[in-house]
């Protein structure tokens, strides 16, 4: 139960909660339950993430792996496993039926083709040209099913001078290629080398964000293609690279270079284009501070007790504060002050200031930089359904990030986290191709399944 002071608009909060609380997700319909997705992605979490998004929205998703299972099942910190499955795939096997099929065998490809006639969407992540070489690329499959939406995620795309590179798509390489890694990280202190400061290098994000962005853009493209197909009956081919997808989110770095020949460099945990905006130390860790309007920055200075001393009343624009040298100057002035408080104390001060401060209700953004452990145990997120464990028939109770958005009619939901390799061969091949146990045994004996 809530142990905080309710907002003035609490009736609205209660109303929305009554309509979209994830605890009620299973009472609601699913947006995509009329679609059949075949995910034949290989080595790539971009493909798996893409199909997860569709599967969370109700699409019947058939995940095809080679007979030994896809390499993604081995992705796990330290190599630890739950049964046969790495912890990463315990998140992205969700809601999918798992079958095996050897696409390197002619019989395997024939079976694949007969599934295609009944599918709406294919997702594949082989190096460009591999599916064509097997005779199961878009050209061939669209003859079997003109309504098919055939989605490729690859490192360099389906066309362009580098598209003939026969390499698989990996997140860390895509992050490197996006330009974002280059401009993220601590800067080298003058006179030091990378050997002195091995952490002061271009730094990638910890999570597989290029894969997730690639997969999410692919999902958005697929859903747009589904919309167009409703209008015209036409399917199509979709081409995404994780690196380009992630790079699309790379702000103005390209424009800046094009216009000024300027290369965006690392700027630590400050922000090249914003003030007040960065991570600052506290007595027990650190906080994010944000105040993108002049009044918010002034409010923060007021919280620090420096409003008069620093002459905040005189400031009329934020513009000079965005300059590089001003950012360093004020960072050096702020750090010793924030270090006197705990992160929670600063957070509370900001919330209080919104009620009683001289510039109230204006207040700066203060957010504690927490470990994911703290995040997972924060009641706010738990109550909002983020970490409700999934009771999986095979893998037991597994914590999954879910309920990433809430909605009144067709919220995403997680039904199971994963399935063992080939666990659904019986169900899926019977349902779609009429293969009974005898046929399955035969195909298994031939190494096709």
């Amino acid at each position: 139960m809530a142990d905080y002071k309710r907002a003035k608009w609490a009736d609205w909060a209660d109303h929305v909660k009554s309509l979209d609380d994830p605890a009620k997700n299973f009472e609601k319909p699913e947006a995509l339950d009329d679609l059949v997705v075949i995910d034949v992605s290989s080595r790539s979490m971009a493909g798996c993430y893409c199909s997860s998004l569709l599967a969370e929205l109700g699409a019947e998703t058939i995940r095809i792996e080679p007979p030994g299972g896809d390499l993604v099942r081995t992705y796990s910190p330290g190599g630890i496993m739950n049964k046969d499955t790495g912890l990463a795939y315990l998140q992205e096997g969700r809601n999918k039926f798992h079958v095996t099929l050897d696409l390197e065998k002619e019989e395997g490809r024939e079976i694949f083709k007969s599934l295609i006639g009944q599918a709406d969407i294919v997702i594949e992540t082989y190096p460009a040209g591999q599916m064509d070489e097997w005779g199961i690329g878009y050209e061939e499959l669209s003859k079997l099913n003109p309504r098919l939406i055939f989605t490729s995620i690859s490192p360099f795309g389906q066309f362009g001078p580098e598209s003939d590179r026969k390499q698989f798509d990996y997140d860390n390489v895509a992050q490197a290629r996006s330009g974002i890694q280059y401009q993220t990280g601590e800067f080298l202190t003058e006179g030091k080398t990378y050997d002195d400061m091995p952490w002061a290098v271009p730094t990638k994000a910890g999570p597989w964000i290029a894969w997730c962005v690639g997969g999410a853009f692919a999902a958005v493209g697929i859903l747009a293609a589904v919309h167009y197909r409703e209008l015209t009956g036409e399917g199509q081919a979709i081409d995404v690279t994780s690196a380009e997808a992630y790079e699309r989110l790379n702000d103005y770095a390209l424009h800046w270079y094009g216009d000024q020949g300027h290369i965006t460099e690392r700027f630590g945990s400050l922000d090249t284009a914003l003030w007040l905006y960065g991570f600052f130390p506290t007595s027990d860790g650190g906080v994010f501070l944000g105040g993108l309007r002049l009044e918010m920055w002034k409010a923060f200075v007021d919280i620090l007790g420096k409003y008069d001393e620093w002459g905040a009343d005189e400031w009329t624009t934020l513009a000079p504060f965005m300059k590089e040298d001003w950012q360093f100057k004020y960072q050096a002035m702020i750090n010793p002050l924030t270090s006197q408080f705990t992160s929670q104390e600063l957070t509370r001060k900001s919330i209080e200031y919104a009620k009683t401060g001289r510039l109230a209700p204006i207040t700066p953004v203060v957010a504690e930089i927490v470990s994911p452990w703290q995040t997972m145990h924060d009641n706010n997120w738990i109550e909002r359904g983020m970490f409700t464990p999934v009771q999986d028939p095979e893998y037991g109770s597994v914590v999954c990030a879910q309920a990433q958005w809430k909605s009144t009619e067709t919220p995403p939901r997680t039904k199971w986290v994963c399935r063992p390799v080939g666990a659904d061969n019986g169900h899926i091949y019977l349902k779609y191709l009429g293969y009974g146990p005898v046929m399955l045994e035969k195909l298994k004996g031939q190494g096709v399944l």
Binding site: R6, N172, V240, F288, L292, E383
Partner: protein, 442 residues
């Protein structure tokens, strides 16, 4: 090249975008709000950006160090292409009424305000449902519409989401403080995922006729992308920790310093890739080393550190481009760490029209990223960039709502609609000729 994409760029404008015919209204600021509708606009939806006159979106003021492009905030340009710009004062009831008239003729409406603000302006979900029962309504903000943080009215930014989700915590080097990303990832990723929700809702509406209300918290949304972190913490009873550029789930996968002081990322987890890398390093025997014999064994901490050390020492003797070339030759993934210069000059990006020179009536020629999803039948595209505050008022009011010149003039007189303030980012660029790009009012 895959045949279906032959001449893709050449014929890009010969086909419509996939979302042709959809109308979207946005009342949003900064990046979390506008990024999603931009993606719809690039896919052919008609997106009307409503701003409050005369200042509009605060992003117009933001500039990296001292650089504005023709007085405009470059991030504002990067994330608001293809939109129509209307300035409508929603504090005034006549402004609220016009907003509702537009909603009645729209499919999707997007906000990123604090909880319950739209209710105060009489354009909350229940209000809009009355004028358009099938509307798809999305509200994106820091903490959603209910729960402790939402009810405390906490403000939020991308950086707050990076901090509160644990994303920053696991994105630095071990022993170093958490690191903020060089981009506003939680804003953009939230914007992108929001459109997954919206387009799925659109599909549901086609089947059932029903619209819906969607709420998204940017912190929660980025947690979804943190994947293995959650079951790892559940299983081990301890927090996930940072590991610099080393991928904790894939081995070898890391960024390496090369002889020319540049960096190259390498990934080679599959047996064929690992063999290829060992061969490229001139140490094919490593592929049979019991410590590295398969991926799961290689991931064990000591083994992972051992192989990464070997690769690091080798990479230090080669140029970054040389390592990348060896990757092509031996079949493992590798790329030099690219900079803004690479984005601009790289031929692959240009020939795919991913990096493109835009020819805009107000802002002239400049180089920009296009939509990163190539669609063979319905190519997404950038057509124009941003506009001054209220630039398209006349077009929208005439074309969609049928107002005549006298009525429009009256709306200006009452301050219901407005045009830009004479200041940077709000007014047209100084070299604009007063005609190009204007629709119906010149």
């Amino acid at each position: 090249m895959t045949a279906v994409f032959h001449d893709y760029v050449k014929n890009k404008f010969a086909r419509p975008g996939p979302l042709k015919g959809l109308r979207v209204l946005e009342l949003v600021t900064l990046l979390f709000g506008p990024s999603g509708p931009s993606f719809l606009a690039e896919m052919g939806a008609e997106v009307i950006k409503i701003e409050l006159p005369p200042l509009g979106d605060v992003t117009r003021s933001l500039k990296p160090f001292d650089w504005f492009y023709k007085e405009q905030g470059p991030m504002f340009m990067h994330i608001n292409p293809n939109k129509y710009y209307m300035a409508l004062d929603l504090h005034i009831d006549m402004g609220q009424d016009i907003f509702k008239e537009l909603v009645a003729k729209a499919d999707i409406v997007e906000f990123n305000l604090r909880p319950a603000v739209t209710n105060r302006w009489n354009i909350g979900y229940e209000d809009l449902k009355k004028v358009n029962p099938n509307i798809i309504y999305i509200e994106k903000n820091g903490f959603g519409q209910w729960g402790q943080y939402a009810e405390e009215d906490r403000p939020s930014n991308d950086g707050a989401a990076q901090a509160l989700s644990g994303y920053a915590w696991i994105s630095s080097f071990s022993g170093q403080p958490p690191l903020k990303q060089g981009i506003w990832i939680c804003d953009y990723f939230g914007g992108l995922m929001g459109e997954t929700a919206v387009l799925a809702a659109l599909h549901h509406r086609k089947k059932t006729g029903k619209g819906q209300y969607i709420e998204m918290s940017q912190s929660e949304n980025i947690m979804r992308a943190m994947q293995w972190v959650w079951p790892y913490q559940q299983m081990t009873g301890k927090s996930a920790e940072p590991s610099g550029n080393q991928d904790q789930c894939i081995c070898p996968a890391d960024t390496f310093l090369c002889a020319d002081n540049q960096f190259t990322a390498i990934a080679a987890p599959a047996p064929d890739e690992f063999k290829g890398l060992c061969k490229a390093m001139g140490k094919p025997e490593l592929a049979d080393d019991p410590r590295f014999k398969d991926h799961t064994t290689r991931l064990k901490t000591d083994n992972a550190l051992a192989i990464l050390k070997i690769v690091a020492e080798w990479a230090r003797t080669k140029g970054a481009d040389e390592v990348e070339k060896l990757g092509i030759q031996h079949g493992f993934a590798a790329s030099r760490v690219h900079t803004g210069k690479d984005m601009y000059e790289n031929e692959n990006r240009r020939s795919r029209d991913f990096v493109k020179e835009i020819d805009d009536p107000l802002y002239g020629k400049y180089v920009e990223h296009c939509f990163p999803v190539m669609m063979s039948k319905t190519p997404p595209k950038i057509k124009w960039t941003v506009r001054p505050v209220g630039f398209d008022n006349e077009y929208i009011l005439t074309n969609i709502l049928g107002r005549n010149q006298t009525q429009i003039k009256e709306l200006y007189t009452h301050g219901v609609i407005g045009k830009w303030k004479d200041m940077q980012g709000r007014r047209p660029p100084s070299d604009w000729d007063g005609k190009y790009g204007a629709i119906l009012w010149r």
